[in-house]
């Protein structure tokens, strides 16, 4: 392994292609931390955005007009404003209103750190799209299926949980897939509030080593691979969950 790392040092000396995140153990650690942070941020946001989508779509089918209005207001507000401004709004505006808590070192720290705010903001952003996606899937479930469930005495929650959602889920997987890919790409915004994710760490490295070109190309490839892994996984899942007799 050491020899492999050393090879990149030789590559730098010979050709000038500088990849310090491979041969330099400190930069390597930073880059791996950044990658790990991006993955962590993506996974946590994926989870919460899907949860928001499921709950939001359920609330949208509610019998109360104001519940539906509230959910729709949330969707329109988050869909039609820039995610970066949302992030700033959450982090700077709402973050500054929250009380500060004492840290173990005797100092004061905000109640929620930048990672937490990035998760909240990005989840709400992607969640707004997910609600619409889930709603379209629920509408695609034949009315007669729901009526059959009603006839069998299922409650509204049971119908949603056991009948509508499993069927809708299969319909919406392609659209959900698309949105989740977008979410992974949007995690780069966390850079703006100094969450040490991949773009942030790459920026640190290129500031130290003045190798913007190499880092940029590496970043593009890294995100390409990350998104590729997600798409590959989702496509496999899509195939596994396919309802026989539907689609091509």
């Amino acid at each position: 392994m050491e020899a492999f790392f050393e090879w990149f040092k030789v590559l730098y000396d010979e050709t000038g292609i500088n990849l310090p995140f491979i041969y330099d153990s400190y930069d390597r650690g930073r880059m791996l931390d950044g990658l790990w942070m991006t993955i962590k941020l993506s996974v946590v946001c994926l989870f919460f955005s899907v949860v928001i989508g499921v709950i939001g779509a359920w609330l949208q089918g509610s019998a109360y007009t104001w519940t539906r209005r509230f959910v729709n207001g949330y969707i329109q507000l988050f869909r039609n404003t820039p995610p970066l401004v949302q992030l700033y709004f959450f982090y700077f505006a709402i973050g500054s209103l929250l009380p500060r808590v004492a840290t173990e070192f005797g100092g004061e720290a905000p109640l929620l750190g930048n990672f937490a705010w990035a998760v909240i903001s990005l989840s709400f952003f992607a969640g707004a799209f997910n609600v619409e996606i889930f709603r379209s899937g629920i509408e695609a479930v034949p009315e007669s299926t729901v009526e059959a469930a009603e006839a069998l005495g299922f409650s509204r929650l049971q119908i949603y949980k056991d009948i509508t959602l499993p069927l809708a889920f299969r319909v919406i997987l392609p659209a959900l897939n698309n949105n989740l890919v977008n979410l992974v790409k949007t995690t780069t915004l966390a850079y703006a509030i100094a969450v040490p994710e991949m773009l942030y760490e790459a920026n640190q490295i290129w500031s130290d080593n003045v190798n913007v070109t190499e880092m940029m190309i590496f970043l593009l490839i890294a995100y390409f691979v990350l998104v590729g892994v997600l798409v590959w996984g989702m496509n496999r899942w899509e195939r596994a969950m396919k309802i026989p007799g539907y689609g091509a």
Binding site: Q76, L77, N80, P82, F89, K185, T188, F224
Partner: protein, 282 residues
Amino acid sequence: MTTRNYKTDLPVMMPVDGKPKNRPRFRLKLWHGAVLLGICLLSPTLSFAQSDAGQASVLEVLLRWMPLLLKGFIFNLVISVFAMAIGTGVGAMLGLGQISLHGWVRKLAWAITQFFRNSPWLVLLFFAMFLLPFQLRIGGVTIPLPDWLKAIIGLSLPVMANVSEIVRGAVTSLPSGQWEAAESLAYSRRQTLWLVILPQCVKRMLPPWMNLYSILTMATVLASIVGVSEVMTLTGQALAAEGGRTDLLAPFYSFVLIIFFIYCYPIARWTVYLEKKFAVKG
């Protein structure tokens, strides 16, 4: 979604509670946007109540900076229009490349599209910002490349890839009968494409294209991260100039949210309207 109206008085056909049980579905009206705006506009007034007596009120400060912020927003719009124009032009060619008859053109166009579609917008923006030279020398003429021009180029890259996919999707969504009919009328491939296929595609491409424009407009704030003085940068500077008062943060950021909402929401509404209008009844 179909609604059932039971045209019978047989008791067995009636729902238990006696009313036809239409599952309620909420359609967003324009005035709902107004309600949301009202809520957002209320938040500055609320924090106005919190501010100290010695300082200028929040509303006053906001009004003072508003012309500058709106100028910044117009700059955002300029960036978005130019990035959209460049992205659409190049993207349309790339999309046509994706349906080319030459295998290698198709593969190349596909690879470029996928590459730029799967990279984060912010990374592409950094890419354009740092890797383009600050001036170009063609022959004896020096063309300066200011930051905002680089931002336009950086933002037009993902737009280009998305437009390419929109074009390809629209062309492949047409029934193959259209191609065959044109062929039987002895149209050449170019004639088929220009006279038969693309005119039908425009209708299909318009809603996703507008959607993309809306996304692009919202992405123009990313240029603030790389130092273009658009609305977000100016907001930060205005806040700094006011001495970092924390009670100003929420109103200023909500103001930025609101102006984007006012601009993007009608576009979204219009897109939905067009989608419905162009929808093929199935």
